[in-house]
Subunit: 299 residues, 2 copies
């Protein structure tokens, strides 16, 4: 990309990240009882790159989608992502104490409150998609709820987590590793794209191409994650580095080596760009830039 | 009620419980990966009185509602209820080992799998409400999702759990205890009624009366629960008896005494019956019978 395009993407990203932060702050209730609201806000606000919301917003823009639906969908996927991190960090799962450079939710608020905050964030995600005052068309709300539920559930993120847990110490082959990540992180990243598309009108071939873009980008994201787990330090990551190897979890690096994993990520991103070109949509510059961003991230 | 009415309610209840069991068995996936499906099905199938599904189905029948929507909503509320029990039983919450006469999910499958099974059940609840093949009107799906999300979230069940956790060892007054239970158990019981109503067409006064019925019945249910925690044994309950007192939790019995709590439950049920009469709906016999059933249950 040229310097001008890069600068304009950085500007777009900063503006959208701020808008998402503001919307999340409005949506996540400070007044939920008995400290629950505080734990929910701690889990969600002021952290993260907001990749999933940015994917929703960029895809919605590419299909001239409904602006309020796009922001609600952006926040909904981020709430699902945030709740999964809260539960994933708990002692019975990854038992992690550091997330986004801060103590994890259960360290700060206790395990019971972390469990409940995660549960409440998942419910809130669906609530956001059905505002109840008619500001979104019902068909759009219904479609968004379905896409999110499928991505979050047993055939998506939660199922991927279960496979992840069961695969500690097991040498997965590449198809099995891909299948796990397609669920664990891929499903929600892909849903970010398909939900963005669902805020507008798009033909079947373009939707198929966007869906493929989401899948390729999701896989690339995970491979880069595996690479960073080895190459970056905890301070840069804002979470504990090296924990996959410590937990004896299969990763793309353990399977392909560092150089092989990097080549795999590059190939997946090239396929993501190719899928975008195949979509025939005119306004895909931001989606291209997001794919580059996924490849270049260092935390 | 006459013997004939009682017999016909018992028949209806048995038939609907069987239908709900069958639908849940169809909806909760056996093939979710890495044992997750097994844990989900263990948490949901072959247990419980199915009070919430029965409320959905009876209310839907009273408003001549959409039959498939009613069964999907009935299963969705039961999945939310089931997931809340799984998470509630975990060591970081109530740390209970017995539920419906069987080992709790985390005892049987481990804490991580229990956490994920609960999470996946919540997602599945919303998925059921949006079948995706056009069998439910979008407006109905959207309304059902909204009612369920509100009942499950920070202002409903999850919020009530947070208050419950925070109130151990604290002498709540009656309004505070009512407010906690209105969220913790009342919200989902009330949503069972309002979701049943949302599967059909009902005027605002009738809906208000049904909503009131749900609220009164929800409160009565909790008071009876508190009474049974003191008077029944674990074998009859299928869960650990006496645990509220052991945990020094405020209950209607600790607040009002046994006789006072029984009088309170009777009064709440009388108000539930009165609300039904006020609804002006013709076919409320089953809803009346369900209120009686809540008052008479011994487990």
């Amino acid at each position: 990309m040229t310097a001008a395009v890069l600068a304009s993407f950085a500007d777009w990203r900063a503006a959208q990240q701020a808008a998402v932060e503001q919307a999340l702050s409005r949506f996540v209730p400070a007044d939920a009882p008995a400290g629950l609201g505080e734990a929910m806000r701690y889990a969600v606000l002021d952290g993260g790159k907001r990749l999933r919301p940015l994917l929703v917003l960029a895809t919605s823009a590419a299909v001239q989608g409904h602006a309020e639906a796009a922001m609600r969908a952006a926040c909904a996927v981020e709430l699902i992502h945030a709740y999964s991190l809260v539960h994933d960090d708990m002692p019975c799962m990854d038992n992690d104490v550091l997330r986004r450079g801060k103590p994890t939710v259960h360290v700060k608020f206790g395990e019971a409150q972390a469990l409940l905050a995660g549960d409440a964030l998942q419910a809130l995600a669906f609530e956001l998609l059905v505002p109840g005052e008619g500001s979104l068309p019902d068909a759009m709300s219904a479609r968004l709820c379905r896409l999110l539920a499928l991505a979050a559930g047993a055939d998506g993120m939660a199922g991927g987590q279960a496979v992840d847990l069961a695969s500690v110490g097991i040498a997965l082959d590449q198809p099995s590793l891909e299948a796990m990540h397609r669920r664990k992180t891929g499903a929600l990243l892909q849903a970010s794209v398909t939900m963005g598309a669902a805020t507008g009108t798009v033909g079947a071939p373009a939707l198929a191409a966007l869906t493929d873009y989401g899948a390729r980008l999701g896989l690339a994201f995970q491979v880069v994650d595996d690479i960073l787990d080895v190459t970056a330090d905890s301070a840069t990551l804002g979470k504990t580095a090296g924990k996959d190897a410590a937990a004896d979890k299969p990763t793309f690096v353990s399977l392909l080596g560092l150089a092989g994993a990097q080549a795999y990520a590059d190939a997946a991103l090239a396929q993501a760009h190719e899928a975008l070109r195949r979509s025939g949509l005119a306004e895909t510059g931001t989606l291209h830039a997001l794919a580059d961003w996924v490849g270049q991230r260092n935390s």
